[in-house]
């Protein structure tokens, strides 16, 4: 059901729907729509007429929110920011649940396993090193079935490998972050809102 709004109820609704983005950005957006109403009214159009021509504030807010959150994720890289940006685009298209959420989850799962592997390899090296150092004390409990030199070599190379793997993973996160943001922006350029589906 479409309810025709006047200037104040339109702006109020828009402001409510824009919760969750920085105050400064929200004020900027509201100022722009206020200007639109004022220009229109100065030209003699009624508030309701103008509000119909702008469209549904809920749909507009969704799109503006997604735009802002992607911009924030671009400026300040963090897991929270990229997740918020991704989730904000879910409401934009019916298929975005598949096109955005599924890739995001797959990326998360792969990254978590890669980091776990890196930490595991490093931990293995450390464990072997500790075992070698404390072998005289622990000899009642464990037996290292290797000579001391290859064992040290093994532990140090395992630690080094683990750390390198970890650094590589961080690089991978950086590049995936950029790629995923680029994908979100592409997605927003292409995906329309649900309303367009009924329009044609």
């Amino acid at each position: 059901m479409v309810r025709i709004m006047n200037k104040n109820s339109f702006l109020k609704k828009l402001s409510e729907e824009l919760r969750g983005i920085p105050e400064e950005e929200r004020k900027d957006i509201l100022a722009e729509y206020t200007e639109h109403f004022e220009v229109g009214m100065a030209k003699g159009r009624s508030e309701k007429e103008i509000s119909i021509s702008i469209g549904n504030p809920m749909i507009i807010a969704k799109e503006l929110k997604a735009l802002t959150l992607v911009k924030i994720a671009e400026r300040e890289s963090s897991v929270i920011n990229i997740s918020r940006a991704a989730f904000s685009t879910l409401g934009l298209g019916v298929f975005n649940l598949i096109f955005v959420l599924v890739p995001l989850l797959i990326i998360f799962i792969i990254l978590i396993s890669l980091f776990a592997a890196a930490i595991g390899i490093t931990a293995l090296g450390i464990a072997v090193l500790i075992a070698i150092l404390f072998e005289p004390l622990l000899s009642d409990y464990l037996v290292i079935g290797m000579k001391i030199t290859p064992a040290i070599f093994l532990s140090i190379s395992s630690i080094a490998l683990g750390i390198l793997f970890f650094i590589g993973n961080i690089q991978l996160v950086r590049s995936l972050y950029k790629q995923f943001l680029r994908y979100l922006k592409f997605n927003m350029r292409v995906i329309g809102d649900r309303r367009q589906k009924d329009e044609i």
């Binding site: 030209k43 021509s53 469209g55 350029r189 329309g192 809102d193």
Partner: protein, 119 residues
């Protein structure tokens, strides 16, 4: 490329065509002159091809991408207006989109009219 302009919904209609068209249309309009939001919405509403409600989110997106900038200008009637101005990269984007658009319509027309020529 065709994906950029078209996405087919479950009823088989092209639904994304309009969004890409609106982007090119607005960039093209700003290419000719600076303009403010109300004017752009008004301009777009003259044509039934484009949905007018999406102008402001689109302008914001273009601004985020660096294709347009804004400045405030006093007006004889009503409040000061936020004018949009196309940038260098914006002009490039417009030319690029336009070229792709013409290419797309040319190819599509060829495809569409091919069958009729043979009859």
């Amino acid at each position: 490329m065709i994906y950029y302009y078209c996405q087919i919904n479950d009823r088989g209609y092209i639904i994304q065509f309009k969004k890409a068209f609106l982007r090119l249309y607005v960039l093209g309009y700003l290419y000719r002159q600076d303009s403010y939001g109300y004017d752009l919405v008004n301009e777009v509403s003259k044509s039934s091809l484009v949905p007018e409600g999406n102008i402001y989110p689109l302008l914001r997106q273009l601004k985020n991408e660096g294709y347009v900038t804004t400045y405030l200008k006093e007006s004889p009637e009503g409040p000061p207006r936020r004018y949009y101005k196309i940038t260098g990269p914006g002009k490039k984007e417009k030319e690029n989109l336009q070229e792709q658009w013409f290419l797309f319509t040319k190819e599509f027309n060829k495809l569409l009219l091919n069958g009729e020529d043979n009859e």
